[in-house]
Amino acid sequence: MAESEHHKRQKRRFTRRVLMLGAGQLGLFGVLGWRLRQLQVVEAPKYTLLAEENRINIQLLAPSRGLIFDRFGKPVATNTDSMRVFIVPELSKNIRDSLDRLGRVISIPGKVRARVLRLASRQSPYVPIVVDDTLSWRQFAQVNVLAPSLPGVQTDILSVRRYHDGNDMAHIVGYVGAANKVEVNEHPVTRLPGFRVGKSGVERGFEPKLRGKAGVIKLEVDAHGHAVRKLETLDSQHGRELVLTIDKEIQTKAMERLKDERRAAIVALDARTGEIIAMASTPSYDPNAIIDGLKEGAWENMANAEDDPFTNKAIRGQYPPGSTFKMVTALAGLEDEAIDLKTKFRCYGGYSYSNAYFGCWRRGGHGAVDVRRAIKQSCDVFFYNVAQRIGITKLSAMGHKLGLGQTYEFGLPLQKPGVMPTPGWKRATLGKPWYGGETIIAGIGQGFVLTTPLQLAVMTARIATGREVMPRIVRPYPDEKIEEAKPLDIKPEHLAIVREGMWAVVNEGGGTAGRARIPIAGVQMSGKTGTSQVNSASSGRSSRGLKWEQRDHGLFVGFAPADNPRYAVAAIVEHGGSGSGAASPVVRDIMTALIERDPVSKPTYVARDAYRQTAEDKRRGGKS
């Protein structure tokens, strides 16, 4: 009885409360209705004024994208105008007639005509239909002059990005494309038709600088969207010009030199400032083809093409550095005082550790070697011993100190960090403990050790100059202070020992890279070869008769002049067979070109807008 009473009360309470809630909802709907009335009845004249008869049309003016030059002012990316003519069916009384008349000025193929008419019958009459977007200046001018007699015909100019020597520069400069869903939310200007944002390379990394600031134009327009008069304009501010550190001449030479290789990369740095003079990766692609719009499927074809033309192997290719890593091992040993200049290890052609046997590349052995000769002749056993003495943690730490195992924040997106392995790293990524044998092969840059060509170039520059050089791709603006890189935390005499060994590699009889000598009197290059094993089957070192995929990678790092380092270069030729055979001649040729041309000694181009823009920025309170 009591239970049923409770239920009755429950029902009554529900009824009471649901009616209250309903009343609340009704009230809130009342608020909506009141607001609707306010907007559409009371203030309708105001908004109608804004919108229709004399609508103030706030238009965004797209800023023109900053130009990109190489270090001597040669154009890399510029903007050209695409002149378009389109037709708005609503404004054209008779669309066929308008097309006929337009056809007397520009030629309209039957196919285009059919497309325009088809779209016109389908879409809302307010949507403009593009008739032609490749007008010449002459045609554009003619159409504009005749516009009054061509109802519904309108013209505009769209800015289109052009890349000069696109194929050579593609991996550095990148390309632009329509804003994606996320980017669209950044700023309304990205919604403008034809507006482009950087998608890769420098175009993406320096997007905020290149984009500029949108302008605003307030127009009084009539019901048909025709401008009656201009009320107010705030000019758009074009994006800043960018001067790359690249020397296009060297860059083209590097691409040219690599064109016979299937997959290869080379990086040339100013060893003192870290400025990237050239960065080539092959195969490449033409960014202009992307700008012009790839046909359906063409994108996938390109993206899935053999040898990844889209991948910049100089920053995204991660390779075992092989013997080019031996400088790291040597320095780690010297710094740890595990070895000194005189320490010798005897090489009988191999090294035993627990149950495993690690061979030296020279089966017959090197005999007793010190650190200098170990670098010169690339004796594996010496470095097995050093690695074993110092352990993996100190070895990796030295790699980090020299710039390996990290990405650099200088504006090139999508870099890969490589791997400087430690027991902690292995546990975290593979879930397995570290084995002693893995330390030993890490000593010669095999096993888990991975580096990118850019990292190897930075490492070489750091060894060459003894400074903590960081790479740069863009020249500083005149008012930007660039501090000289601070000295490395490595004893100068230890660096000198290693440099001495690298000098011997190239310039002494019995060194591994005699053929890398520079054919310029008085200039010597120091360097180090590297041959990194792709799979254990290829450990025989003889690449003949092996399939391309099974051959070893060939690497070479070098700096010159040996006595006063100016340039550092690193190259990898994937499956090139060996460092001395495949990579060292490439580095020699690029280094020769660098020395002959000596780009870092010549005055560089200064962006035309550099001073004005900087002043402008300050005036605006430094906002960007």
Binding site: F14, L32, A51
Partner: protein, 381 residues
């Protein structure tokens, strides 16, 4: 003697169809037709890409609605907690396994299609709360301990979607949960304290908001300050709405919307576009249809004989109301811009399916309005 028979007869299929609320179907179909017409206009006079899909989705949704409505209500009693649990687990899985888009992670990938667990939770929360109050003996209603379970049921999903971050959905969960507690009969005092607590928490919430969320709120307070940045949408929406005037510019003649001043015209801002073309008269009529739907739901809730059916019905009603109110208030600049669609009119598959599922439950409750549960059917689990 006892009032009313404990046994309630099982309804045959025919009886179910007779007990069905056909007027309700007519009302929601009207809304979908309005939506299809508006989408046709947004596309510049084309069934492609939205109008046709919209109608097809509705037809599929109707199938779901009938399926849900004509099953036995006891099935939904039994499923209430399991469905809630599944929704909760998926909501927890989102930050771990989810895929993000636009700065927020809200989607789960199941095979080839993605969906938002928050959508399922909208219905699941209503079911679970209704299930709880069906079980709770009315005499324990005023016991504060009885409030712990439902508060947890509401609190966990709210916290989870706030972390996603999805403020709009968090507000919806809180509103629906709070509304159901109120309808179930929780004491007034809780609501007074609850509201006071929220007021006190506002400064702290403000601190934890993401920058884009703060920007939205600031824009809402003063849209004219940044007419080209975040305030652009609200201002353009108001211009389009206001310029429609009393009678509107005519179907497919909306200059503001057709000339691309408006963002998201086919989803969140479709009301603006409709109001510009149909004017004050048209948009008020549309609001009236929504009001009729809501009144129909309240009417159905009042006729239910058991607590579960009542609360499910009212809960779906509150969800619908929050959607409509937030969306329409947003496009008129009354509340900040949050991505909430206009039910059955906006283009979008997920919200359509959620709503049709919810409406299916409402009609299920209506069909079984005379059902009374035996005590063993309403055990704690």
């Amino acid at each position: 003697m006892f009032s009313g028979p404990l046994e309630t007869p099982r309804l045959s299929f025919g009886e179910k169809l007779i007990a069905f609320n056909w007027v309700f179907i007519v009302l929601i179909t009207t809304l979908v037709c309005v939506g299809a017409a508006a989408l046709y206009s947004v596309a510049g006079g084309s069934l492609d890409p939205w109008a046709e899909t919209h109608v097809i989705r509705y037809c599929l949704g109707l199938g779901l609605l009938f399926m849900v409505a004509l099953t036995d209500i006891k099935l939904w009693m039994r499923l209430a907690y399991p469905v809630y649990l599944v929704a909760l687990l998926m909501l927890i899985a989102v930050p771990i396994l989810g895929v993000g888009s636009g700065g927020a992670q809200r989607w789960l990938q199941l095979g080839s299609f993605t969906f938002q667990p928050a959508e399922l939770m909208k219905v699941a929360l209503v079911l679970a709360l209704a299930r709880y109050y069906e079980w709770l003996p009315p005499k324990h209603m005023s016991n504060p301990l009885a409030l712990i379970a439902p508060a947890t049921m509401i609190g966990i999903p709210v916290a989870l979607v706030v972390m996603q971050p999805d403020l709009g959905t968090a507000v919806l969960f809180a509103a629906v949960g709070g509304g159901l507690l109120f309808l179930a009969g929780a004491s007034w005092i809780y609501f007074v304290f609850g509201i006071a607590g929220i007021m006190g928490a506002i400064p702290f919430i403000w601190h934890s908001l993401h920058d884009y969320q703060k920007a939205r709120v600031m824009t809402f307070i003063d849209p004219d300050k940044d007419p080209l940045g975040a305030g652009y949408h609200i201002l353009q929406s108001k211009i389009a709405l206001g310029s429609g005037g009393v009678t509107g510019k005519g179907y497919m003649q909306g200059t503001q919307s057709q000339l691309n001043f408006l963002p998201e015209k086919h989803t969140d801002f479709i009301f603006t576009m409709f109001a510009e073309e149909m004017g004050f008269v048209g948009s008020l009529s549309l609001l009236a249809v929504y009001l009729l739907v809501l009144l129909a739901i309240i009417f159905m809730a009042l006729r239910c004989q058991n607590q579960f059916a009542r609360l499910v019905t009212a809960g779906v009603g509150i969800t619908m109301f929050v959607y409509v109110f937030i969306n329409v208030a947003m496009v008129m600049g009354l509340v900040p811009v949050v991505g909430v669609p206009l039910p059955l009119v906006s283009y979008g598959g997920t919200s359509m399916i959620t709503l049709m599922f919810g409406f299916g439950l409402v009609l299920n409750a209506h069909v079984h309005r005379k059902t009374k549960f035996r005590p063993y059917e309403t055990g704690i689990i």
